[in-house]
């Protein structure tokens, strides 16, 4: 009995010691993947390029705020996380950080004082970045970015998520990979694409599913779950692999166009992906966008022919596509336009068909396809309803400067009508997704998803 109590007491003490150690013993920083030569310096422009590839601006810049000065709200299931100031301001930014401090934040998710970053910062992915790119990015942020004296907003999540030390345990689960990049050794372009996708591009942060612990299920390309689809901020981040996925249905050129210009022969980039195009992908070289597209094309093992260019200057004329077998019945029903049309179909004819056509095929580069469009058929109905109500836009890019705006129909269609129309769209041309309710529409009317 006494012995048992002693053992118990011992265990309690051990537990307390472990807990205290867990909370207070500083995290061991991961060693760099590569040792750089002492005189190594980044190539001119490399750091800014890495910053663009990493899409730092999208999260670390508030709407109408100073570039990289933080203050953007990142909505998470645990509550709002505020992005921080990463300008070299000593008071509010990262001006006092050493490169080792910076690397630790990027690959271990730990700040110089040992605080754990919330994994809204995709250090799970940045952990795969090359040492050279981390150094180039650090040099750029410190030397070329204007310090901005904007104080950080404090993120205050509810219990237990406000106990940041808990992230330490989470990291044991989430950071089993890396550091550094391991190519699959396919073609040069695919390997480059793999690096951009896995590392700086942090595509898995949205496009991989999350496991029970909310860690990315599939961080590297050797994992079968990698990029097999996720949900972010009420948007479906569709699967980028497998039959029916965009990379398998589109050509490499079309995928590269989508990445670089936010538009291609099939679709447009909206919501979160629109931001990625606007702030990151449009600034990559053509070779890199082709590389990403090539890697995605070959993700399931297909051999990939790498094109040399995409989204070239016009004149480019693209005929509108006829209805395919899956869409034929719907196209015929809309063309006949009999008086007994279902309400959704009638609403489509009156409001949508001029651009998206009775075929649901739209027009290349300008009016997206609605047939098989994941935004139409996704598990998340918010984006579809929001686009119908409030419209959508594709921002100007260098190769396609047109600011493409779809108008909203909030002033023209009631909640019931939008629900009818959305439900119809989700089942037209062979689309096969569930109904949308007027309540879903009402929610979007009040608080749009984008």
């Amino acid at each position: 009995m006494y012995k048992a109590l002693r053992i118990l007491a011992g265990l309690v003490i051990l537990g307390v010691v472990c807990l205290l150690a867990f909370i207070f013993v500083p995290v061991q920083r991961t060693e760099p993947a590569t040792e750089l030569a002492a005189d190594w310096t980044p190539a001119p422009g490399q750091g800014e390029y890495v910053m663009n590839a990493g899409d730092c601006v999208a999260c670390h810049t508030a709407p109408d705020g100073e570039t990289l000065a933080g203050g953007r709200a990142i909505e998470s299931p645990m509550g709002t996380i505020w992005s921080t100031n990463i300008t070299p301001d000593k008071e509010n930014g990262i001006g006092d950080w050493s490169f080792a401090d910076f690397r630790a934040a990027m690959i271990d998710g730990v700040t110089p004082n040992g605080t754990h970053l919330y994994p809204a910062m995709p250090y799970e992915n940045y952990r795969l970045m090359k040492e050279e790119d981390l150094r180039a990015l650090y040099d750029y942020l410190m030397a070329d970015v204007k310090p901005v004296a904007v104080a950080n907003k404090e993120t205050s999540l509810s219990f237990p998520f406000n106990m940041r030390f808990g992230i330490r345990a989470w990291n044991w689960l989430a950071l089993s990979h890396g550091p550094g990049f391991t190519p699959l050794e396919k073609t040069e372009a695919e390997d480059r694409g793999q690096y951009l996708v896995e590392g700086p591009g942090h595509c898995a942060a949205c496009h991989s599913p999350r496991n029970t612990f909310m860690a990315q299920d599939g961080v590297t390309a050797d994992n079968g779950s990698f990029l097999s689809g996720g949900v972010i901020g009420g948007w479906n981040a569709p699967s980028l692999r497998g039959e029916g996925s965009a990379p398998q249905q589109w050509s490499v050129e079309e995928m590269a166009s989508y990445l670089a210009t936010g538009r291609n022969a099939h679709s447009t980039a909206n919501g979160e992906m629109g931001l990625v195009v606007e702030h990151s992908l449009q600034y990559l070289t053509d070779e890199d966008n082709i590389a990403i597209a090539a890697f995605l094309k070959g993700i399931d093992g297909e051999k990939v022919a790498v094109p040399s260019s995409f989204a070239n200057a016009g004149p480019i004329v693209t005929p509108t596509a006829p209805a395919d077998d899956a869409g034929k019945a719907t196209a015929e029903m809309l063309t006949a336009a009999e008086p007994g049309l279902p309400e959704g179909a009638r609403l489509y004819l009156d409001n949508c068909s001029a651009c998206h056509f009775v075929t649901g095929k739209g027009a290349a580069g300008i009016f997206p396809e609605l047939q098989g469009n994941h935004l139409v058929t996704g598990s998340e109905v918010g984006p579809l309803v929001s686009v119908i109500l409030h419209g959508a836009e594709v921002m100007p890019t260098a190769k396609r400067p047109m600011h493409l705006v779809m108008q909203g129909y909030a002033d023209r269609l009631s909640d019931d009508e939008v629900a009818e129309l959305s439900t119809w769209l989700r089942q037209a041309w062979g689309n096969d997704a569930g109904a949308v309710s007027a309540a879903d529409v009402a929610a979007q009317r009040e608080a749009p998803t984008h």
């Binding site: 480019i316 004329v317 027009a363 396609r400 493409l404």
Partner: protein
Amino acid sequence: MARQEKKKDVVIVGLGWTGSIAGIELAQEGLDIVALERGEDQSVVPTFKYPNQIDELKYGVRNTNFQHPSRQTVTVRRNEGENALPYRVLGSFLPGNGVGGAGTHWNGLNWRPQPVELQLRSHVRDHWGEQIIPDDMVLQDYPVTYDEMEPFFTRFEKVAGISGYAGNLKGEIREGGNPFEGWRSEDYPMPPMKTTYDASLFAEAAKKAGCHPFPAPAGIASQAYTNPYGMQMGPCNYCGFCERYGCYQYSKSMPQTATLDALKAYPNFSYRTGAEVLRVEMAEDGKTATGVTYFDHAAQEEVFQPADIVILSSYQLNNVHLMLLSGIGQPYNAVTGEGVTGKNYAYQMNGGITLFFKDKNFNPFVGHGANGQAIDDYSISQIDFGAEGFIGGAYWRAGTFNGQPIRSMPLPKGTPTWGAGWKEGIGEWYGHAMSIGSHGSHMSYKTNHLDLDPTYKDPHGRPLMRMTFNWNQNDLRMNQFQKRMMEPIAEMMGADSWQAGFKDVGAQYDVRPYQTTHNTGGHIMSDSPTTGAVNKFSQAWDKHNVFCMGAGNFVQNTQYNPTGMVGGLAYHTVHAIRTQYLSNPRPLV
């Protein structure tokens, strides 16, 4: 004391077709450019959004998309003896306003002139002798030839996104195209639009009569299109709301679909709206301009914008007005025939036949502004002027372009114009009428010109511009010729009834009914400073850093809608600025 803005390399006055073309091409040279636009900013969404824009009463009848006469207008008289009165209600022509200008509300008919139209005096002299030129006609050759202009027409057609089928591809005449057009180095960028029923009926009849029908060239997208600037158009849905409206569907060639966003992407370009240019300011030596003074509508004050190059790219009437107010070119004097600015104002001479078929349904609400089949068999290059007794010609076109209920209700003569009888007529005939239009040339005359009005002033205290204009017997005879040629073809078509509407000899200009917004001339191009206001590069003869773009350059009006030539001349001008002027600013001729 006017506010002064920071000096720019280039100031552009008016941000429509030619202003945006000048902007984008000169921005590529790295020049620091500002465009000043009198009206408001306009985008497809929200400005032209569906269904708000297709409101016939608001935009088609009350003309909300246009320059409002209370802000700016002209006075009009038919001859020197009349007292010119202000054009207070828009009727005969509809000047545009706002970003995109008249390029937003045109029909999309994009033509090139025939080669002989650019050398018309020589053509007449060589074939019939100069004695057939009426005394009061001021017939001149353009100082540019079709061959010189061809690459620039092609360039504009690619940028604007034109649908059509070439009839003369590098000299090879192609079946189904226009055999009488000037040669094209390339086919149209897009295939032609679909043909509506009325147009195919006309084409069939025209063919039987030995004519050569072809699809009218359209500034309307027949397919998805990306232009050389990466700008985009979506395929047209044939809704029929082109003329008087901005296109909500990204389908019509407009600066909004062809140039503006690409231009706005240049960091060295900026534009200000609500910036109404009042005059061009001149250097003390009188040989160059120093910039422009504009009225800033937001700040309610005058602003001086200094610049090294001034590009006048506002509507033709406004360009001429600014030149008269600023002393660019000597004002034209109709009595002595001396002077150049305001000279050779010209217009368009149109007519047509409407046919009624009880048993045919034309679905007139399906169409677009440039819809239809056209023929050029009675065009300038095909007519024996000596035998016919006039100089000029026309193209014809049939094709529904809208079924809008307020303005598009053609009824057979004799139908009551109001009340129950009118309603009955509408019920009987709506959708059963089609028309064939003749769109004819208009020559320039000593008597038709523009100058400053001695009486009326605008809100800024500037004299209004005065238009002295009347129809001339030469063009009316041309119109009657077209009527005589068209009537047998209309008769062949087997309508239940048809009626012709062609102005006859003796007709007087009536400023009330809509005719066309093809106001041309006033700052015509010429090969000598005594015969025109600008040289072949649209450069003011007497102020070498002022370039005047647009239909004001037209020596006499062609038989076609002017946009294709306006666009071609704009590219011709900016090419000269880029390759000849910037390195050594000077008179280029």
